[in-house]
Amino acid sequence: MTALLTRVKTTLSIRAHRRVRGMLDGEYASIFRGKSHEFDDIRPYVPGDEIRDIDWKATARAGYPLTKQFIAHRKQTMMLVVDTGRDLAAVAAGGEPKRDVAVLAAGALGYIAVRHGDRVGLIAGDAGGVRLVEPKGAESHLERILQVVVERARLDGARSDLRAVLERVVRTVRRRMLLVIVADDAAVDEETAALVRRLTVQHEILWITVGDADVMAAQWATSPMFDVADDSGIPDFLRRDRRLRAAFEEAERVRDAARDERLDALAISHVRITRHDEVVPTLFRLIEAHNHARR
């Protein structure tokens, strides 16, 4: 039952990413900087830790850099908020199911949180209902969370409904948390933006957009294609149409820009991930950007 988490770990520990992973730990730790200054312990410095948190005296004694760890770090809760409707079973821009990319991204953040001793919970849902998995701090718990996501996000699952999930978060989550919202390219409309605005007041929010497949891409120009929402096919003739492709690319650009603008206006850190090998560097960028924005 640890298959999903193993995959997350593998992704995180690929040689090329080793340095990034260390920095990811550091950047993650910084998210909660300033929430509490109750000193807890010192631990070896990892790249990405705040320079000013380095305990210089201890470093001098030990001979290698040590950094202060504050007690607040252990008490954080990360809540993964995932829209697990059947939209998530569709193909991502990179060619693999969006579900796999989402699980990898959520799993990587969750794993870092668990390694920091934080707790990870899940609010996942769709038009068929929203499910809450209470936050806990074990790897096996994270694995279970990921399994829930995979299980719900099927082609024959319920329709996607991000707003229902967010409403549930607004209603039920009282304590301050780090919300990791995993959504797709669906436009962030006015009502969703209003919900998110309410959440920003109380929580730290990281927004991960899993990029939808480019319908007009040459990659599947000759394969049959259907929309998961209503099973309607999109004739391949239309997907080869040059004029339509130009119009589609323009529309995509406009939509992406509109979403970025909305989220930027809400001061939410957000990234768009399209494939699994982008996950780690993109997450690093996300957290870094988040920390920078707040500073």
Partner: protein, 330 residues
């Protein structure tokens, strides 16, 4: 318009329907279990674009083009396989006639001869399969030219003779050899000579003589006119007689005219007594007409294939299918 192989057309239609049914069934099945189909979300990103609507219109137009063209192609093929024919009944005109112009070149006949020669010279233009020959006679008969289908030659001969006949200063060289008999105007001998000009007696051809004479005999004939007529009839030769002498203004002996009329009509021919040389073309036309009447064959049912329209329609349809297919697969 009839279809010869109607059952084949029906077989085609059944085959087309069965094929269409199988294709529809396979499509249904393929749609149900499309393993390699790509599931995407939010296709309304694409489908709500105005460009999508116009592309969809183009797509539908092409699909309809293919559908209509395929139906047309199948229909054209079916009709072609059914062998579309038109049925007509024709009475074929047999154009295997031999005509010998048998002209008396005694002085009184020259004007008429000129007219006859001129008219036949023009007629050679229309001839196709007929043969024409020319015999001149007075006391004896000479063959000006034998039966021939070389119309250019016949025409040149006829024109040369016509030129001589109308020339007042002619040296009468065309009549050389026509005065070798015992007397002049041996009408019976002349006709008999003309009858002997027909060759190829085994083949089925219509044989006729345009016989121009005043039947005014002056000398001792070997054959009398009735004997010559009998001879012509025995060879199945039809004699059309033109007699310019048989008019009241001339002091003509009716006995001669009657004799000639009887001889001519005995061969199933026609007798004309004429006064004016200008009447000759009309008479020749009548001769032609009578012959045409006589020598039309049995009515024949002609079955003509009419593939032009289905073939053209098929080509157009095929071109449309290929064009639309190219556009769709591009």
């Amino acid at each position: 318009m009839t279809l010869v192989n109607l059952w084949l057309v029906l077989a085609w239609l059944v085959a087309a329907l069965v094929t269409a049914a199988i294709v529809v069934w396979l499509q249904r099945r393929a749609r149900r279990r499309s393993a390699e189909a790509v599931p995407v979300a939010h296709s309304d990103r694409l489908t709500t674009l105005p460009a999508y609507a116009s592309a969809l219109r183009r797509y539908r137009t092409l699909l309809w083009t293919v559908l209509v063209a395929v139906v047309l192609l199948v229909a054209a093929s079916a009709v072609l396989s059914g062998r579309l024919v038109s049925l007509t009944t024709v009475q074929p005109e047999l154009r295997n006639r031999d005509i010998v112009l048998c002209l008396d070149v005694s002085g009184s006949m020259i004007d008429y001869d000129a007219q006859i020669v001129e008219t036949f010279s023009e007629l050679t233009e229309e001839f196709d399969g007929e043969r024409i020959g020319l015999v001149l006679f007075n006391a004896s008969a000479i063959t000006s030219f034998p039966l021939t289908s070389d119309y250019a030659y016949a025409r040149s001969q006829l024109d040369a003779l016509h030129a001589d006949l109308v020339d007042p200063d002619t040296d009468w060289s065309f009549a050389n050899g026509t005065l070798l008999g015992n007397g002049s105007s041996m009408i019976g001998d002349g006709l008999a000579s003309c009858v002997m000009r027909f060759d190829d007696l085994d083949t089925q051809r219509s044989r006729s003589i345009v016989f121009a004479t005043d039947n005014y005999v002056a000398g001792e004939q070997i054959m009398t006119l009735p004997e010559a007529g009998e001879f012509a009839r025995s060879k199945d030769v039809v004699v059309f007689g033109l007699n310019p002498g048989d008019v009241r203004s001339l002091d003509y002996i009716a006995e001669f005219a009657d004799e000639m009329r009887q001889v001519v009509e005995a061969t199933d021919g026609t007798y004309w007594a004429l006064e004016d040389p200008d009447a000759v073309p009309g008479i020749v036309a009548q001769v032609q007409e009578r012959q045409a009447e006589r020598f039309t064959g049995e009515p024949v049912l002609v079955v003509t294939d009419e593939p032009t329209l289905p073939v053209l329609a098929g080509f157009v349809a095929l071109a449309a299918v290929m064009f639309a297919g190219w556009r769709l697969r591009r």
